[in-house]
């Protein structure tokens, strides 16, 4: 097959950068459909190189149309699907009788959910929170190391995961599926949850910084001092939990943003909090 004349390394690079570019035409109708087509196009072009041959042309059209279907997945983990779909397209081209092409899109569709779930919670949840938790703290101290560190911590896992996801998907895709769907997803989610939430808890205590100016002059008491001696950052925790409750009660984002600004102005004018 003509696809033999491309080195594996180049193929994996293609999976990597074309997975990263998958959101380039994100739209409401079929979301990342063209992104996926763009990713798999080189593979299809290698399988069906001759546009002059009417039979090949028909097969190629059919394959291109197949990959215009609805698709949405975290770009980094999507490389796995891309690699797997590429290897399935090659199998299909090699053995058209015994391979049902519908399975290609079926596999794509079935992978979207779990791969997005684990990908989003890992990258948008844990990695991003650690990267920017550290980054914000350094930036608040006026150090440019903050943003640099945040970029570095974001880049490295993203690169490594995308590279290996594409490679694994292509080389041992279907075999790996069972392991992915086994306990590994749960483990990864569990680890992400613990690390993410501990850092979030730390951010509540170190980055909100709401205090109260209330004093009881007759008794000579400063309320903030009392709070600090019992439970430091208690006001921060209370405000965050109030926000959390409102979010869980499904208040609209616009309302909540308005409440923050207007509430801030009113509560500050009443000298309750600063």
């Amino acid at each position: 097959m003509s696809s033999a004349n491309i080195s594996d390394r180049r193929r994996y690079w293609q999976f990597l950068w074309r997975s990263w570019a998958i959101q380039d035409s994100w739209n409401y109708e079929r979301q990342m459909n063209m992104g996926f087509l763009f990713g798999i196009a080189p593979t299809l072009d290698r399988i069906y190189p001759d546009d002059k041959d009417p039979r090949q042309l028909a097969h190629k059209k059919e394959a291109y149309q197949r990959h215009m279907a609805f698709y949405n997945c975290t770009p980094q983990t999507s490389a796995f699907t891309l690699g797997l779909a590429a290897s399935m397209e090659e199998q299909y081209a090699a053995d058209r009788e015994n391979f049902n092409p519908d399975t290609i899109n079926a596999v794509k569709t079935s992978l979207m959910g779990p791969l997005s779930g684990v990908g989003d919670s890992f990258f948008q949840g844990t990695v991003r929170i650690i990267a920017f938790g550290l980054g914000i703290q350094l930036a608040q101290q006026g150090s440019i190391l903050g943003p640099i560190l945040a970029m570095l911590i974001s880049f490295v896992p993203s690169f490594v995961v995308t590279w290996f996801a594409g490679k694994l998907g292509y080389t041992m895709g279907s075999k790996y599926l069972t392991r992915l769907q086994g306990g590994m997803m749960d483990q990864l989610m569990y680890v992400c949850g613990i690390v993410g939430l501990m850092v979030i808890g730390a951010m509540v205590a170190s980055m909100v910084g709401i205090t109260t100016p209330i004093t009881f002059e007759s008794a000579g008491l400063v309320l903030q001092d009392i709070i600090d001696s019992i439970l430091p950052c208690a006001i921060d925790l209370a405000v965050v939990m109030a926000m959390y409750t409102m979010i869980k009660k499904r208040f609209k984002t616009g309302w909540l943003l308005g409440i923050c600004i207007v509430g801030g102005i009113i509560v500050n004018a009443l000298h309750i909090l600063v």
Partner: protein, 267 residues
């Protein structure tokens, strides 16, 4: 001002292309773009300060799936520019960020609707056997249109809006600035609460509290918390998932570390 606006528009292009072409490496985030704006306009401290504040309150606004949150990334570039080019304080810049972000969100929704037409054009191109045109719908037209979606508003906002913001800032009374300051802290709390809302469940609440108390009582910094969190997570995963299969790519290092622990327990 024209050249400044032009360059800031290009920062916007860099910002949007991070999620379009680089799989969202987080280079689009306010902390990064505000720092770049600060470097370009020659006021790094303000860039860092505005970036850290906007980052903090937008940390919870994540694009997941089809949901479109207020576009804080676009707002961050415009507002850090305002904070540096006018006398606006960080808090004022933050308050300005909200309406801009909501406008940006609407623009984003409109854009993604328009882009559906590219899909139809690509369908037709495939039908005609013009495969190169089909993929260029994605990589050329997608890139161009998304770039414009950021470049144009940022350019216009900075070019036409700076004088307006300067006049606005001059008439803002002190009580309003103080109020906005508290408001921005509420927004930070909101951002953190948003993050929690997507991750928190009953069995994980203790870890949230652990992180909170370690900082509140002992005063550890975030780096220390992150390190301890990883260790705790690895140890607990080993205990919780005995005899599980080793993890793939993303969790290799962690998975490798808890295996020996399992053996110890079995003895």
């Amino acid at each position: 001002m024209f050249v400044t606006s032009l360059i800031l528009g290009l920062v916007g292009v860099f910002c949007i292309l991070d999620s379009r072409l680089l799989g969202r490496l987080n280079f689009e985030r306010p902390l990064i773009t505000c720092t770049i704006v600060g470097l370009i306009l020659g006021d790094l401290p303000t860039g860092l300060a505005v970036g850290a504040s906007i980052e903090l309150m937008s940390l919870g606004l994540v694009v997941i799936g089809a949901a479109a949150p207020p576009d804080m990334n676009m707002a961050a570039i415009i507002c850090s520019a305002f904070a540096i080019l006018t006398d606006a304080s960080t808090e004022t810049a933050l308050a300005l960020a909200i309406p801009i972000a909501v406008l940006g969100q609407m623009l984003g929704v409109l854009m993604r609707t328009i882009l559906s037409n590219l899909t139809h054009a690509a369908d037709r191109a495939i039908e005609q056997g013009n495969f190169r045109r089909a993929t260029s719908m994605h990589i050329v037209w997608g890139t161009v249109l998304y770039s414009l979606m950021y470049f144009v508003p940022i350019f216009l906002a900075v070019y036409l809006g700076t004088d307006f913001v300067q006049r606005l800032v001059e008439v803002i009374p002190a009580w309003l600035t103080d109020g906005l300051n508290l408001g921005s802290k509420f927004l930070t709390a909101y951002g953190i609460a948003l993050l929690m809302s997507s991750m928190l469940n009953k069995s994980l609440v203790v870890f949230f509290l652990l992180g909170f108390f370690l900082v509140g009582y002992i005063g550890l910094n975030i780096t220390a918390i992150a390190i301890f969190a990883c260790i705790i997570a690895v140890v607990l995963t080993g205990l919780k998932f005995r005899g599980g299969s080793p993890a793939a790519a993303g969790g290799v290092s962690m998975a490798d570390e808890y295996d020996p622990l399992e053996d110890d327990d079995d003895l």
